[in-house]
């Protein structure tokens, strides 16, 4: 039977796994924030200056002002969708994608197949 620390450890790991953004979350963001997230996906990590530069290229009606951009970055970071390293103008942002959870059912099917294939191969030799 697992002890309290094992359970706590599992809970922490589970909550960490839930963090991060999924492509479907990106699809539901406002256009300017989607633009930021697409940039982050391609660059993996980007300095604040590059994000500002990218925002300048967004269509005027969708473009965020500098203060609105700062608020958006803060919100994305708060949400755990971006990871901020450093602060202010020198900050570096890194995208944080949600992990794909494993499936015990699918894994079980493949494990059974693996075992059977090994057995068949040893029976033949």
């Amino acid at each position: 039977m697992p002890g309290i620390f094992d359970r706590l450890n599992k809970e922490i790991k589970d909550s960490q796994r839930q963090e991060g953004i999924s492509p479907l979350d990106i699809a539901q963001l406002p256009p300017a924030m989607r633009k930021i997230m697409r940039l982050m996906l391609r660059e993996v990590q980007a300095p604040y200056a590059l994000i500002c530069e990218t925002m300048e290229k967004v269509a005027e009606q969708e473009r965020l002002s500098r203060s609105a951009l700062d608020d958006a970055l803060a919100a994305l970071t708060e949400q755990g969708w971006l990871i901020q390293i450093g602060a202010g103008e020198k900050a570096l942002y890194k995208v944080n994608l949600r992990r794909k959870e494993g499936s015990a059912l699918m894994s079980g099917i493949w494990s059974s197949l693996d075992t059977k294939l090994k057995k068949d191969s040893s029976d033949k030799s």
Binding site: Q28, L41, R42, E43
Partner: protein
Amino acid sequence: MSQGKIVSIHSFRGGTGKSNTTANLAALTALEGKRVGVVDTDIQSPGIHVLFGLDDEKMGKTLNDFLHGKATIREVGFSIGENLTAEEGRAKLAGKKLWLFPSSIKSREISQILKEGIDFNLLNEGLQSAIKEFDLDYLFIDTHPGLNEETLLSIAISDALLLILRPDNQDLQGTSVTVDVARSLDVPNLFLLINKALPKYDFAALKENIQNQFQLPVASVLPLSFDIAENASGDLFALRHPQHEWSQALRGVLPYILNI
């Protein structure tokens, strides 16, 4: 943003000829002198390696090894142009800059990925690193059919998405769903490719009809061909039979890729 372009090739349903089309299109692009990578993100049912003449023994390091921290992305990249087999089509890739990033076909490794899940940060870093480390002009992503999480990630990072469909009502409805998702992810270049069209159809009318239905360009219409079936993924058909009507129709997609 990195210079290399990511082209995801996808179909909502299986059996559309996605891997065959991806491999041939990547090969045609490499023949144009481009540096090309092909990634098999269909981790649970990999297959595109067969078209490049790889099997379990020849494969070496795989995307699974990368995702488990057992290999760098550079080690996973398998140079097709330097490891040719005797087949007439693939032989034309001698010296060409084409790398395959295969997924493992070992049942234990597929099982491990399915059990443990996938670190998408690592997968994305691997794809972006592949472009930089191999100085790729194009990275083609062969996706799993339908809309699973790997596929959605592939679509989200793509410069272009080529959706393959057959002239079949199930394919049409499924493609419509994928188009909606791709549009909501702001994929800059979206186009369709109709495959397995019956030769008796009027291809021009079919193309116009599908274009109107989706409000997207149809890059080409490929005929249903017994010759392709007979090839049985044994070689790169478009390179082996460049004058065949299927190969000629596939070449019609190239300008869309080269103009991204």
